[in-house]
Amino acid sequence: MAYPFQLGFQDATSPIMEELLHFHDHTLMIVFLISSLVLYIISLMLTTKLTHTSTMDAQEVETIWTILPAIILILIALPSLRILYMMDEINSPSLTVKTMGHQWYWSYEYTDYEDLSFDSYMIPTQELKPGELRLLEVDNRVVLPMEVTVRMLISSEDVLHSWAVPSLGLKTDAIPGRLNQTTLMGTRPGLYYGQCSEICGSNHSFMPIVLELVPLSYFEKWSVSML
């Protein structure tokens, strides 16, 4: 979950999110490189009275400042495309869970074996127990087995929503009349929080998502108890 004064991403809980973290470090390094170069040049320009007002042609510098940005763009694009294709790899999920966005809650359906479905509403602030997180807790969490590839099918019953869990690197739009798919693989047990990420009305900020990743045996017991 997010914490006060947070600057970077949340800790990664899936291999894809780890890749995204490292890619972000790589791209930020390039951004710092360009920004420091530009800042240095601006300060150079501001600290001299020397001028040159008769430039006729600048073939060499124009070549450099065309080729260099092209190389930088390629250095960004290649890792980016690598991760993009990695996200789309065929990974044979063991479980499929469907989630539907509503105004203003999520509903989940586990229909691989039996018909299990439930709604997931935010717990209002007045009803929170000590230690629980304001605007993030829900009554029925999405319990999933850890270290298992899960397919999420996401759609909406009314307006646009978006199902997001930052620590797993997931954000997928819930569009009425359309089924969007994403896969997730949590490497650690625990609770992972997310919030609706597409404006959907007055309670858009009050329809969070909580994933509870547990070992497979506990997931099986839980799903039987929920039937």
Binding site: F32, I34, Y40
Partner: protein, 74 residues
């Protein structure tokens, strides 16, 4: 009498300054990038590798279960 007029060579002060500082600018920005790579990116990658090298997810789960945070595992 032929008179050769010698024109003074211009001192090219700006060009000298630019050459010196452009090299400096590239050196500074590459230094910044190298610093970020070795002080931020590499330690970050290492931190994840070290964490997962001897990670026991069941032990972690038992600790969390004892703390009572799960709905599905009391």
């Amino acid at each position: 009498v032929q008179c050769i007029i010698l024109h003074p060579h211009p001192p090219r002060l700006l060009a000298k300054r630019l050459r010196f500082h452009i090299v400096g600018a590239f050196a500074v920005s590459l230094g910044v990038a190298a610093f970020l790579k070795f002080a931020v990116a590499k330690p970050g990658k290492k931190a994840y590798a070290d964490f997962y090298r001897n990670y026991d997810s069941m032990k972690d789960f038992e600790k969390m279960k004892k703390a009572g945070i799960f709905q599905s595992a009391k």
